[in-house]
Amino acid sequence: MGLVSATLLRSLAPICLLIAIAGLVMSIGEPYQIRVAYIFFINLTAVFALQIYMGGTGHASFGHAAFQGIAAYSVAILMTPLALKRLLIPDAPFGLAAVHLGAVPSILIALVLTGVIAYIVGLAISRLGGVAAEIATLAFLVIVHVIFTNWIELFRGPRAFYGIPSISNLYWGLGAAIIALLIAKLFRDSPYGVQLRAASDNLLAARAMGVPVERLRLLAWTLSGIVMGMAGILLATYLGTIAPSSFYFNQTFLIMAMLLLGGMRSVSGALCGTLVISIGSELTRSLESGPVIAGIDLPAMFGLTGFFLGAIIVLVMSFRREGLLGGEEFEDLFRQWKLKRKSAADETSADAPAKQEA
């Protein structure tokens, strides 16, 4: 069986789960819940993107929210109607104030642009190892943020960029998340992914066998940057409004918490972590305003969601470093569970005749 068909088969269960979530929310959800589900799919796409890089290289990246921002601003600048753009960014450079493209070309250009920027930045980051690479990703995030907030002619600075046509719906989110899932799974199981994981396991041995570590890191970084761009496009074309603050520390730590909670070494872990944190934040958010539960009037606790996120990161790091799934995929866990049950069954059947003899 080829890699692609094997991956499709192995991804069937999580894909069905995602379709079920989308179907359920679309059929019985209220607009607020649909919005929550959409944000979930955006974050899921982003977490899959982050998993491609972090799961492969074992290095943290604090810079991925920047890719989300680059893609979001690209579609915003290309797609927003000319009348609005004259109001928002009348002095845009490169004649961009007079450019208006349809959805498909805008999205394609945004993805290509994100990919090119990721590649160029990756040339430097892939050559660094360990902590140096991680700090460089943080620097990248800050640089992109500073450009967004200070290049006022093009990005409107810290003020929101609004009026982007809201063309996407929940199924876009679902589709993007499934595509991201498949890309992440394919990359993880491909020879490149295995070589990269081997290098993060033992760099020297991998080098000695001729694994081109830098080139593979660059590949993972660029690929995950493009997938991250998908998440940015989803955000811009759904909310219709973006601001530089949407692509900064809050987003960085949210998606990182999601990935770490589930376990960054597997795609299934990324899915699990995103689910748990999304549901958890919704629950804590409803507690923030101090609702009345079972006759008890709870006090308002603002900032509870942030506290919840921080607490989760601390708890996972202290008790389960490898994340909830310990770096395994669903199907691997299922196989291990089956094996364990089988060996347990063998033992009891082996015990039975022995007892009869006695």
Binding site: P191, V194, D201, N202, L204, A206, M209, G210
Partner: protein, 237 residues
């Protein structure tokens, strides 16, 4: 096959290897001996380009490979099995072996090579789907050697294949080395276990404090109590 000319390796101000010139001819096993900290590992690591050579040159098959990246050197047919086994702990034996063929693009040839070495190391076939961490030390060393062989090298450098292994296991590893030699593989074996290494090597170099202090036939070194005692601490008392 391999020519080192005045090779030096430095870590900042510290010179680990000083002006070493040596050769390895086609089909022979050469032992690189010396006490701890003599620079043996630095020397072999610099030959394949894992750490840079600070001066001098490395030639392989008459071609200068001093500044060539590791993957190109492996592709040319020179592979190093690094010290301390270094199997990929989280991956299975099968994945470890296939990773050894990272530089190979001919799939049929990879399968054929795999079959050859599973034949040679039957224990790896038995443990094929197990995670590499579940293997014993000796099995991990065999896996490390087989993994290097998956790149179809014409010359293999083994860095301390006996490190941390029980004497009986060491014997088995050395038998495999002899077997590989008979199959025509050229080898450079780094060892602290001087007496045993000299038993299967054709020639030997002794490195002490980064400098070559002896080169010659293995038998000559083995019969010289003075040299053995001075540099290898295994003299007859």
């Amino acid at each position: 096959m391999l020519q080192l000319t005045d090779v030096s390796v430095s870590y900042g101000p510290i010179q680990a290897v000083r002006n070493v010139s040596a050769t390895v001819e086609q089909g022979e096993i050469v032992a690189l001996l010396g006490p701890n900290g003599a620079g043996k590992t630095s020397l072999v690591s610099s030959i394949v380009g894992i750490i840079p050579v600070s001066s001098g040159s490395v030639g392989f098959d008459g071609e200068d490979i001093t500044r060539t990246p590791v993957e190109s050197i492996v592709r040319k047919g020179l592979t190093l099995t690094p010290e301390g086994r270094r199997v990929f702990a989280g991956l299975s034996v099968a994945e470890n072996l296939r990773l050894g063929a990272s530089t190979q693009s001919d799939r049929a040839a990879v399968e054929e090579t795999l079959e050859t070495y599973l034949e040679m190391f039957p224990i790896l076939r038995e443990r094929y789907h197990q995670t590499a961490t579940t293997l014993s030390g000796g099995e991990q060393q065999m896996l490390a050697i087989a993994r290097s062989l998956m790149s179809r090298p014409r010359m293999l450098m083994l860095d301390e294949p006996s490190l941390g292994l029980a004497p009986r296991v060491v014997e088995r590893i050395f038998e495999h080395i002899v077997e590989l030699k008979q199959s025509g593989l050229t080898m450079l074996v780094v060892e602290q276990n001087a007496t045993e290494a000299l038993a299967f090597a054709d020639r030997a170099y002794v490195l002490a404090s980064g400098k070559l202090v002896f080169e010659g036939a293995a038998s000559e070194l083995a019969s010289s109590d003075r040299l053995m005692e001075a540099y290898l601490g295994t003299g007859v008392d």
